[in-house]
Symmetry: C2
Subunit: 333 residues, 2 copies
Amino acid sequence: MAKRPTIHDVAAAAGVSRGTVSRVLNDDRYVSPAAHAAVRRAIAETGYIVNRNARSLVTQRSGSVVMVLSEPHEKVFEDPNYSTTIRTATRRLGDRDVSLVIMLAGDDGDRERVVRYLRGGHADGVLLMSTHAGDPLVDELESMRIPAVACGAVIGKENVIPYAAADDREGARQMTRYLVERGRRKIATITGPMDTPGGIQRLEGFADVLGRKASKKLIEHGDWTQLSGESAMARLLERTPDLDAVFVASDLMAAGALSTLRAAGRRVPDDVAVGGFDDSSVAATTHPPLTTIRQPLAEVAEATVRLLLALIDGAGPVEPVILPTRLVVRESA
Amino acid sequence: MAKRPTIHDVAAAAGVSRGTVSRVLNDDRYVSPAAHAAVRRAIAETGYIVNRNARSLVTQRSGSVVMVLSEPHEKVFEDPNYSTTIRTATRRLGDRDVSLVIMLAGDDGDRERVVRYLRGGHADGVLLMSTHAGDPLVDELESMRIPAVACGAVIGKENVIPYAAADDREGARQMTRYLVERGRRKIATITGPMDTPGGIQRLEGFADVLGRKASKKLIEHGDWTQLSGESAMARLLERTPDLDAVFVASDLMAAGALSTLRAAGRRVPDDVAVGGFDDSSVAATTHPPLTTIRQPLAEVAEATVRLLLALIDGAGPVEPVILPTRLVVRESA
DNA sequence: TTCCAGTCTGTGAACGCTCCCAGAAACATT
DNA sequence: AATGTTTCTGGGAGCGTTCACAGACTGGAA
């Protein structure tokens, strides 16, 4: 295999010096039109491609960004969120010729690897996905002073790590209001884990609307899985048999709730109205199809990347971005 | 911010030369126990981390692998396959301190970027995801002689790009046989796109079992989406109203078929048995829950990565890996 | 003793790029 | 004509590694 052409070869082919080629490459000032054209032609002729390693070695910038996936439990997040964000991030970063490196931060070993990678200066920024409250990684990032943003708030670090997210709280209000408007009187809720922003915010939105009617008795917690939705619904039904609606903080859990209700002989939405959250792909396939809250996943991803790029470019402190949700009415409520 | 320690600093701290430190780092032969210990200690003390750029510059190896996502249509693949493979790959590669870079190859611009990246020598190998028949990228890869494997066969290039995949054909046979054994006489099928391995192989498996009874009349094509499943089912029903079973090549399309059947007043499985494929998360949430074929997604991903690493390590030509599927009986058949 | 093989270490030379500085060339101003 | 200012160019130095080589030091065999 022939050796790849270097900047020297291009310089020789164009009849100029390395310096000039480098200036063209980084479109610096002070290159004559003639030299510029000659270099461009030489680049095309030789098929030259810059060697990022050599460049990074001197510039101390890597031209890449790490996306850290925190996923303590293996299966819990079958989240389409990931795919969407990965896709969006890849595209947007690619537009600027920045590449996306994916790393896991499941256990301490993983985390150590991430830290080593970052301390090694191999990334210009970090994109945090579903990072949990108290994750030690966040403190490390702080001490490294490396640009970092999160997709969804990092609990307890809202003012440290900028983020973009859907308006979970308002979304929950929308659904709860809708249930109230449809004449439901005894509205329960199944929340997500209380150490996730979605878990907390969606419960708060629910409580915002219901006020003191949101009694402890009408609240159950799940862990986003379908199974947890099933059992939470069962507990709710046992405790408050006469409930006539339930707001479930995720579609997957709502699917679980639906099957518990069916098993208990409750008709949906006649006896019990069910509201979901996410507008994920399961929402349309359940029976009956779920009335739910749509999150603008792609826009959230887009905004997250934009924040990160701004940070890398040295923009001062940036503000979190909160994007609106939308009620999608189907048949379950 | 203090400058990061280099190999020189470690050498100084350990009282040895750069060469010796480098030897320890790459655990070369011929390092005295004393020197080894001193270097290890110095590394710990200084918090030294190798600079991969400098290393790659001289070794011509990058320590990273690119995963190329081909996705002509934006939404079609909400595939959990992606998440699983990304996760598995990250983990397995991470074990060897190789990092995973994600790139899109949706349009020509994307593709060009990928090629430039690879030609730039920034990756030691390529992992192809859902690459379609005739993708020009494949030829480029060939000409670059860069190690490449695919997750799922690349049609027409089965002998060029090694791959790991589920046994689609046998899986389709399992399902078809099952339907026959349950006494179904008029069995139709909804296939995936005929330019994907899943589309082709699953139809072949179906035909293997049914022989000449698999008439053109009983075959319809979808594009993996739920909507396409709905309309394909409608066409089937119109053409052959007395069918008593349908094997649908994906769960998502099966969910679509289910709603068409319900709308047409057919009971499932009493009037029409429905078999899906994938055992994806929707399978359990449909009504009735889908009898389907489980693919060992994680194992496929694992095998794909293994193949790639073998190739990178310079193992000779490697054989494709085909992993067994399993029938999962629920209520739809 | 001499010699050799094996073990261990230090150093110069790359790797391919950007940065910086010195200086040439072109043009404008006194 | 002399001077200053701007535009443009070339080349040395250095980024942090690995690699090859030369040399030093061991311990044993001749």
